[in-house]
């Protein structure tokens, strides 16, 4: 996904000289070609994310279309106030790209986990948020992002993701993508962990439970209609996100259900309110956090009993 997005920006920058890509000294083996071909449109701002986002805002005030790239915590948390005041309050054409969502950098430790970004970005007026599941979806969504002005946050995984959305209709900003049909239960997921939702649904099908998987790649604006529709037509809803349980997709969907008086068997799967004292690969940490295929299967079985 990372290469897909950076290549797409590189391509767009060839014909649109107003596109500027800022990196916080990251992107080894990903940004070199861009740098070689368009040295005036890619700027390494050094390890100084607050300044980088401020510079992005200044460039945007001067009419540029700016992309800011770093690892999730440094792209969103270190410079949160610059995103709030400089970018969102002034409603500028700046896209923040965070790589390493969830546990993608699991062995690097808690400092590099991206678990609070969606909640933070969701709290900002004017901010729009996508988290593609795979490179195909990333490309489809990014084409649209390029043509919609204002602040964006794009949450990516790390790289090398397998394509899981090829059977679905082309992803549309603001609309849930149906990745697997099902009539009894529904899994609403966001981001790369959608691969876990799909595997769980396949297992459930074999065990006689028909579970639908809808990828809500656009956290903001959220596809409220599809949530309300499924709450009325399915027996159980599970939300799945590689993110703290507080303030992300599960919270957003809870709000839609509660405010529309929609009572349905419901469970949020996300990272509980805790820090980890250990590290590990993405799959390992997902399991430890209760975000494995088995957890999803068990959760839906319980809700459907």
């Amino acid at each position: 996904m990372r290469n897909t997005i950076i290549n797409a920006i590189h391509t767009a920058a060839k014909t649109n000289k107003d596109i500027i890509f800022l990196t916080g000294d990251l992107g080894y083996s990903v940004v070199e070609q861009f740098q070689a071909e368009l040295p005036n449109q890619i700027i390494n701002c050094g390890i100084a994310e607050q300044n980088m986002v401020g510079v992005a805002a200044g460039l945007a005030l001067a009419g540029k279309k700016v992309f800011v790239y770093s690892i999730v915590p440094f792209a969103t948390m270190r410079c949160f106030e610059q995103i709030r005041v400089d970018v969102c309050y002034q409603n500028l054409d700046v896209t923040i790209i965070g790589v390493g969502g969830g546990f993608a950098y699991g062995t690097l430790g808690t400092t590099h986990f991206g678990l609070e970004d969606l909640a933070l970005m969701r709290s900002l007026p004017n901010m729009k948020i996508i988290a593609p599941a795979d490179p195909l979806e990333a490309a489809q969504l990014f084409d649209q992002v390029l043509n919609i002005k204002g602040p964006w946050y794009i949450r990516l995984n790390r790289g090398g993701e397998k394509v899981i959305s090829e059977g679905a209709l082309s992803a549309q900003i603001g609309a849930g993508s149906i990745l697997k049909k099902g009539s009894q239960a529904i899994i609403f997921s966001i981001g790369n962990i959608t691969e876990v939702a799909l595997e769980a649904a396949t297992i459930l099908e074999k065990e006689g439970i028909s579970a639908e998987v809808i990828h809500l790649h656009t956290l903001k604006p959220l596809d409220n209609d599809i949530i309300k529709d499924r709450a009325r037509t399915r027996k159980a809803i599970v939300t799945l996100e590689e993110h703290t349980i507080n303030g992300g997709l599960g919270s957003a969907i809870s709000e839609v259900l509660a405010e529309n008086g929609l009572a349905v068997a419901f469970h949020r799967l996300g990272v509980e309110d805790q820090y980890f004292s250990f590290i590990g690969k993405q799959d390992f940490l997902r399991s430890k956090a209760g975000l494995s295929v088995e957890s999803v299967v068990e959760t839906i079985k319980k809700l459907c009993q």
Binding site: A48, Q50, N51, G54, V55, A57, L61, V85
Partner: protein, 281 residues
């Protein structure tokens, strides 16, 4: 120096005219702050002379929407009333809009908001943001004649992001960037030297790769010379820092160097006393 500048210099205000304009600005600021029971009069007064000379003699701004205008960002956004009043003095903000300052529903806040009135280029109020924004502006305009100014406080230089921006401007040779540091020696709870020592300010900027000039921030001749220098250094690869030694509350003797006037608003009686003093100088 391009042709437009030469013409501009012919029409600049003399020191006496600047002093007269600054008096008017100080009286308007006092009146607005007193009327609305708002704060930061001390922070405003330390920069009145700098703003007066910038808007009347230095900044090339034919109109606030001129695409080729110079850019000024007030990074110490709490001195908002000083900026609003300077913009009004230049004719960019109408007296009616100025009167709305700090009223319910007004766009003129206690900290500046980009676009809230003509001539306000960027939002500030959380300290340590302005220089980065200015750097972005300047980076986008490397190939033309525009100039870029940012006014920061010495207390504001506590913020690490200021020094990130200082490094960036040096790294990218943003020689059209001028940072003016309002060294009024005080911050929220007292003297900067006692709280987070920012002395040797020129040395700090110099170490970060900037050309530095130290001036008396209330002396128009010194300010004029330093700011005109900002126009004529296209061959330099360095950004310019003007370290302005100022007095918090400058202009009213009993407000000068008193931290109280970071917070307090003059009563009606104090307002009259202050205006009388300003008029008598």
């Amino acid at each position: 120096m391009n042709g437009i500048r030469v013409i501009l210099y012919k029409n600049i205000m003399t020191s006496a005219e600047l002093a007269l304009e600054a008096k008017k600005i100080r009286k308007t600021i006092l009146t607005l702050i007193s009327k609305t029971n708002s704060s930061h009069v001390g922070s405003c007064f330390s920069i009145v002379d700098i703003l007066t000379i910038l808007y009347h003699n230095i900044l090339s701004i034919s109109s606030p929407v001129d695409p080729n205008r110079d850019i000024f960002i007030l990074s110490k956004g709490h001195a908002a009333v000083a900026l609003y009043t300077a913009l009004a003095s230049r004719g960019f903000i109408s007296p009616e809009i100025l009167e709305s300052y700090a009223q319910n529903g007004s766009s003129l806040a206690g900290h500046v908001v980009g676009g809230s009135a003509p001539g306000i280029e960027a939002t500030a109020g959380s300290l340590g943001h302005g220089l980065s924004l200015l750097a972005g502006f300047a980076l986008a305009n490397k190939d033309n004649n525009r100039n870029f100014y940012c006014l920061l406080g010495d207390g504001e230089c506590n913020e690490g992001s200021v020094w990130e921006a200082a490094s960036f401007c040096n790294q990218f040779k943003l020689n059209k960037v001028t940072a003016i540091i309002d060294c009024n020696k005080q911050q929220s709870l007292g003297y900067t030297a006692d709280i987070m020592d920012m002395r040797n300010m020129a040395e700090r900027w110099s170490v970060f790769g900037w050309e530095t000039i130290e001036v008396d921030g209330h002396n128009y001749d010194e300010l004029q010379k330093a700011l005109v220098h900002s126009h004529s250094r296209r061959d330099s690869s360095k950004p310019l820092a003007i370290i302005a030694r100022t007095i918090k509350g400058k202009g009213v003797s009993w407000m000068e160097d008193k931290i109280d006037w970071h917070y307090k608003s003059p009563t009606a009686e104090q307002l009259q006393t202050a205006i009388t003093e300003i008029d008598s100088i």
